[in-house]
Amino acid sequence: MSAHSPIDQIEQPASFAFDEESEAEIATILAKYPAERKASGTLPLLYVAQKQMGRLTGSAWVPRVAMDEIARRLEVAPIRVYEVATFYLMFNTRPIGRYHLQVCTTTSCWLRGSDDVVAACKKATGIAAFGQSSADGLFTLTEVECLGACSNAPVLQVDDDFYEDLDGPRTVELIEALRRGERPTPGPTIDRLDSAPAGGRKTLTDSPAEPG
């Protein structure tokens, strides 16, 4: 049973303004759409706002004032932006921790051990359940659906980066590194190049014969 009101009891900042870096991005984004269709910029601008919040406050979320600002820029009613922002789970309409741990628990990842990844996340951060943040405010744990990286399951997305082929211990290690302020290289955490087979190539190992 769910009974939620999206912005109830969330402390909202009093104001929001895009900074210079965001403005530059917005200019590029809006150049893509004809002036009378600039409402199309809603999604990308929400991303820009969320990133800016992460950059400036350490919590990548979209407060209502930011949505209002986007609505003003795009000349749409604020509710149209609220609708979009609340529809897509990628936008956080409430504050989150410094690192957003998004564990995929869909079939492929689950079969390949996402339960261990979840357990490791909880253990390493002290978070009790999905949707919550750690006591130190560093981490927020979210359950997500297939991230489209099934070949390297199980997957944990930290903010915008995918960490793949995880197991319990490597997840703990990753979280410890994050806690130290490091950003380990994203991608497979085992001997695998991108999404090629683990342990190196299995096919096409020799060069084709010279034509002739």
Partner: protein
């Protein structure tokens, strides 16, 4: 036209019709929740499923376009099963709280469940619950009942033009909300109650008041503005419990402004229910006879020209005519229906009515608004302007406004200037909007009372007419010259000549001792302090408002709900309302009071039945012979109203309504309107308390 067959019945429907419309043309009723004739098609409830021969699965008829030769089946086993399945899904999360739901008895879901619902539920899991939302003092929400048809979202966005409602989140968590816990800012918000097919949006003031089957319905006309919205008064016992709109495509479609819907709780407060006479400075309750005698005695020996009468904004034509006849009998030509001091040229009806008609707005292709804020003066008419604006698409219906609007008009309007000086520029062509008007085939102009209550009103009216002629807004087959009234009684008053006769005094002239005896028929919208200290004031009306407090004699009259009356709306359309309840206490229908009094002073009016009075109405002005209809005609005579267009003053237009919720005695007595005023118009004073 396209030929389709519905259950074996051949019908022809216009191209682009939906299957649902075709079914209706064939007389088949299709259940629906999300579809509404006046809103865009959403196609999200799936209740309207029908079978189309050769289609692989049932189709949602509301969004399915017809094609030549299509065969539609509306009553097959597949259709029934599909609808039953849809109903089962809808009822999964819909609560079983009909016994405590205000929609009960007039709920689409309840009705359809009767036809397509199962007798038990297979659903064992927990139902979802949704927190209620705050939408202001008029609309109550019970959001767990919402079936997410999005009608309300579409109404707010498309019709009302206040895009404040939306559907946030998704899937099971989707909710209809304004997201920000703020009162809806629309004068049409009450229509959400009608449009919601279930009990999610209901009337807050009417909560838990009555069941629909307990109510007696009486046709009426909304008197809170000059649109003439067709309404139905729902009555139990002696009380009007609610007012809802009736459909009239020519006037209000199916909308009703919030004042017309919610101000009626003012009928129960501050009523004048017995005659009063001031004795030694204090009002004392007396009998009718004594009240009449008191007036008769005061009138004794007073010359006709020292007697005057002013009628208010809510009066019916019958009582106005009776008052005028009484004044004539007393030898007075001091009558006035313009307590706001507006000036008109009544030599031709075109000069003081809404010529294009309300429905005619949809044929116009450019609009100039002069000294009017239609959103506040006539919300339902404003919705028609918005409808035209939206239908015309980007730039298709250019709108210019002279005078700063006090509220977002709900459509894009170019503010050309703040005062009538711009009219000269438009006429000389030096203002670019002149070209817009000239290029239009059917340009229209709305002249509001912001322009007509000024000293230079006649000059403005003349300038507007001249401009209308020059840009082709008036001509043999199009009359785009429109005067927008704010008082329900005004056009009838003008039609009946409730204006000072030659040498007679206007409302202003009757102030400051201009007359010795002043008869006020429901006239409260002026500063009573201006009445001369020695003037003897008779107040005939239904509410103890400002003027009653100043009165020497109070004659308790009937409100619009308590009498049969004739009203003429801003278009000049004559409409009738019927009595829904009896006037309280000793109060009487107004024309009867005047008739009875005329007898006391020996000037008996020559009618003693309503029919006889209505014959007199028709004799006084033939427009009263046609009820409901309205001639749509062009203008053959292009000579303009009296006035020198050059004499306009540059002073900016002032809005005529500063508080939409407090424009007449009934509103001011209404607790609901008082709350609206506090929330919408004076929010800051609330915060300061």
């Amino acid at each position: 036209m396209v030929k389709v067959t519905v259950d074996g019945i051949q019908v022809e429907v216009p191209n682009g019709s939906s299957a649902l419309q075709a079914c209706e043309a064939a007389g088949k009723e299709i259940p629906r929740f999300c579809f509404h004739e006046r809103l865009s098609v959403a196609g999200n409830c799936r209740m309207c499923l029908v079978q189309v021969v050769r289609a692989p699965k049932p189709v949602a008829s509301c969004g399915f376009p017809v094609a030549e030769g299509m065969e539609i089946l509306t009553d097959t086993e597949i259709v029934r099963k599909a609808r039953r399945a849809v109903m089962e899904f809808l009822l999964i999360n819909h609560p079983l709280d009909c016994p405590i739901c205000d929609q009960g008895g007039e709920c689409d879901l309840q009705d359809q469940a009767f036809g397509y619902g199962a007798d038990h539920s297979r659903y064992q899991e927990a139902k979802r619950a949704v927190t209620d939302k705050y939408l202001g003092p008029l609309v109550k929400t019970v959001m767990t009942r919402c079936i997410q048809c999005t009608r309300c979202v579409r109404f707010a966005t498309e019709i009302a033009g206040v895009p404040e409602l939306g559907a946030v989140s998704r899937g099971e968590n989707m909710e209809i909300t304004n997201y920000v816990e703020k009162a809806l800012t629309s004068e049409l918000s009450g229509n959400l109650i009608d449009i919601c097919p279930v009990g999610a949006l209901t009337s807050k003031p009417y909560a838990f008041t009555a069941r629909p089957w307990e109510l007696k319905r009486t046709d009426s006309i909304d008197v809170f503005d000059a649109v003439g919205t067709n309404t139905s008064l729902h009555v139990r016992g002696s009380a009007v419990l609610r007012i809802v709109p009736r459909v009239n495509d020519e006037v209000n479609e199916e909308w009703l402004a919030d004042k017309g819907r919610f101000a009626m709780d003012g009928l129960k407060h501050r009523r004048l229910d017995r005659p009063w006479v001031r004795v030694h400075g204090k009002l004392q309750p007396v009998s009718w006879q004594d009240a009449f005698v008191a007036i008769g005695r005061r009138l004794d020996g007073v010359a006709g020209e020292r007697i005057g009468a002013i009628v208010g904004d809510l009066c019916d034509a019958e009582s106005m005519l009776a008052l005028k006849d009484l004044m004539t009998a007393l030898g007075s030509s001091n009558v006035d229906c313009r307590q706001d001091g507006a000036q008109y040229d009544v030599s031709r009806r075109e000069f003081y009515t809404f010529g294009s008609g309300i429905a005619g707005i949809e044929e116009a292709d450019a609009l100039l608004i002069v000294g009017s804020v239609p959103r506040q003066e006539a919300p339902v008419l404003n919705a028609r302007i918005r409808k035209r604006f939206v239908a015309a698409g980007r730039g298709g219906f250019p709108i210019g406004m002279i005078g700063e609007p006090t509220a977002d008009p709900t459509y894009r309007a170019e503010i050309l200037g703040d005062g009538p000086g711009i009219l000269a520029d438009l006429r000389s062509g030096s203002h670019p909007f002149a070209d817009v008007l000239k290029a239009a085939k059917r340009p229209m102009m709305i002249v509001g009372h912001g322009a007509l209550v000024r000293e230079d009103a006649r000059a403005i009216l003349a300038a507007c007419w001249a401009l209308a002629v020059e840009v082709g807004a008036v001509g043999p087959d199009w009359n785009g010259f429109n005067v927008l009234h704010t008082a329900a009684s005004r056009v009838a008053g003008l039609d009946l000549g409730l204006l000072p006769g030659s040498g007679g005094r206007s409302a202003a002239g009757m102030m400051s001792g201009g007359v010795d005896v002043l008869w006020l028929l429901g006239a409260d919208e002026f500063h009573t302090a201006q009445i001369g200290a020695q003037t003897f004031v008779v107040y005939q009306g239904h509410h103890g408002d400002a003027a009653a407090a100043r009165a020497d004699v109070i004659l308790p009259g009937a409100s619009f709900a308590e009498k049969s009356g004739t009203y003429v709306n801003t278009e000049g359309r004559v409409q009738r309302s019927f009595r829904a309840v009896m006037p309280p206490g000793d109060a009487r229908e107004d024309w009867r009071i005047l008739r009875a009094f005329s007898e006391v002073v020996g000037k008996t009016l020559p009618y003693d039945t309503l029919e006889a009075l209505r014959d007199r109405l028709a004799a006084a002005n033939p427009v009263f012979r046609v009820i409901g209809g309205r001639d749509v005609a062009g203008v053959s005579d292009l000579t303009g109203p009296a006035g020198d267009p050059a004499a306009v003053s540059p002073a900016p237009f002032q809005p005529v309504i500063d508080d939409y919720y407090q424009t007449n005695p009934i509103c001011r007595a209404s607790p609901t309107m008082g709350e609206c005023s506090r929330i919408y118009v004076h929010p800051r004073t609330v915060a300061a308390e």
